[in-house]
Amino acid sequence: MSGTVPGADRVIAAGGRTAGTTRRGQAVKFAVLLALAVLFLLPMYVLLVTGFKPFAEATAGRAWLPPREWSLQGWAAAWEALAPGLWNSVRMAVPSAVLSALLGSMNGYVLARWRFPGADAVFTLFLFGMFIPYQAVMIPLQQTLVSANLMGGLFPLILAHTVYGIPICTLIFRNYYAAVPHTLIEAARVDGAGMLGTYARVVLPLSAPAFAVTLIWQATSAWNDFLFAVFLTGPDSWPVTVQLNNVAGSMVVPYNQQMAAAVLASLPTLAVYLVLGRYFMRGLMAGALKG
């Protein structure tokens, strides 16, 4: 919503100015940051170290020590337990991300450039949809899907993630299109292009970065979701978060397998974050409304 949002990642990436800091000040800061970095890394250390231990070694006594013998047992077992869920998550996260990005792009274009009376009210009502606790729609949603005989399979999840992803996608595209130079749009109009023509010929070709942001954001949110998943799917269509929780919630599953499973379930989104970090970041900033 605010003009500073689309550029926030660039403001951050531009770096700081060192005016007013002493060399000693820098050293103290660096030491504190390093200590915090170690604390942040602790859970990641535990995940990897425990994941690579053989069953027999994943015990309390050696909890914090690196494995004596590096083993892939935990990973193999975790893969076996999670593979169906990983596949379900892919088949659910990708289509819902694409659908809400497309709808968001159309809405964003209209709300930024082809406004109708009451557009502000509509936009505000959309935005509220971003913040609602989904519990407040869950029981009716579940009942509707049951009575329409649509429960089972991944359709309920795709529907939910698509619909409830519309607000944030609309917001991201609206901000993005508001920054497209006015002359570009005017030129297309002068050439006689209508609303759809301008959208298809001028606006869409410029939209790749905004699509990258929304697709990453939506796919990550859908991948990491647990609430919709437990309410709307059954054993045949559980996504990876539900299966991970089942693996971890069971008292008989050894720690090495639990930790390996947590890593496996997180790898796809972590990889996207590491490779396409700046787009991920812009999604985060848009989620904040204002920078």
Partner: protein, 320 residues
């Protein structure tokens, strides 16, 4: 940032000439746009507002079994929750969690932003590391932190308790989330770990958005670096802080995944969202589940609605 294309009629348009030119055939100019948005308007109307309405009606009914018809019962369900032992305890847990989660993530995120804002060796690596937990699900976070916060006593200790024993810091060994009074403060730890990088990014953008001239002017006036922060930079960060509180607050009130992953359905860590889940799946009482969901919605709406209205109005008055 120029004004949005054809500004809404009510908005102060920065380009009156263009408006006049397009005055004729106004409806023809906005109707196609409305049509393009209409699929989403219908979806949001049905799936957000329609279902909120339905849920509210359910909360006000006496449909205490899925197969019952149910009739209007007024505020009975909403009032009855406060008469039992479980609901007030769940609300108290959520409140403690919220205080420590929002406070903790805000403080840590602000500190990280402050330490990084002037640039430091290895900044991109540090930023990437602090923000990484945001890319992971609460379930995955919960799996690790349940291991870290294992409350088993010293000789059988795992996780952080074992580490404390190992380092001769036995006084730090504790019951974590199973502690009777402030257990939910421990429960907030993984959430702080996950979200403070996000808050760091917000504050970092805020810090770096403060014009250098402002700081320089204060320095020329004889302000120490500390005074520059206190009197120049921090006041500029108020909007960012408000945003951070809104984001953390609305996440905190509806916390669900993390609790399930760390504690399962144990009553010690019960919160409204977990309670609602058991109402739907175990007790199978739609009216009561809907009543809990209504409270969740109200708790979020009381601060999010004014925030949204304020944001959209402010943007309008700035002519965007």
């Amino acid at each position: 940032m120029s004004a949005a294309g054809g500004a809404a009629p009510a908005a102060p348009s920065p380009a009156p000439r263009r408006r006049a030119r397009r005055g004729a055939g106004r409806a023809a100019s906005w109707l196609p746009g409305l049509l393009l948005v209409s699929p989403s308007i219908v979806l949001i109307a049905v799936f957000v507002y329609g279902m909120i309405g339905w849920n509210t009606a359910l909360a006000l009914s006496d449909k205490h079994a899925p197969i019952e018809e149910g009739s209007f019962a007024g505020l009975e369900n909403l009032a009855a929750l406060w008469q039992e032992a479980r609901w007030p305890a769940a609300v108290a847990n959520a409140a403690v969690f919220t205080v420590f989660f929002v406070g903790g993530a805000l403080l840590l995120g602000w500190l990280l932003g402050l330490l990084l804002e002037k640039g430091i060796a290895g900044e991109p690596v540090l930023r990437t590391l602090f923000l990484a937990p945001m890319a992971v699900s609460f379930i995955a976070t919960g799996v690790v932190w349940r291991w870290l916060m294992n409350p088993a006593p010293a000789e059988r200790a795992t996780g952080l308790n074992a580490l404390f024993v190992h380092l001769n810091l036995d006084f730090l060994v504790n019951d974590w989330w199973t502690a009777p009074d402030l257990g939910m403060a421990a429960m907030a730890l993984p959430a702080v770990w996950q979200l403070s990088g996000y808050i760091m990014a917000l504050f970092l953008a805020g810090f770096r958005g403060v014009p250098e001239e402002l700081r320089e002017a204060a320095r020329v006036d004889g302000c120490s670096e500390w005074q520059v922060y206190r009197h120049v930079v921090m006041p500029q960060l108020r909007p960012v802080t408000l945003t951070a509180v809104i984001i953390l607050g609305h996440m905190s009130l509806k916390v669900f995944d993390l609790i399930i992953a760390v504690a399962g359905k144990q009553i010690a860590a019960d919160v409204p969202a977990v309670y609602m889940w058991t109402m739907v799946f175990e007790v199978r009482d739609p009216a009561k589940g809907a009543a809990i969901a209504t409270y969740l919605l109200l708790a979020v709406a009381v601060f999010v609605v004014p925030y949204l209205v304020w944001t959209v109005r402010k943007e309008r008055s700035e002519g965007r």
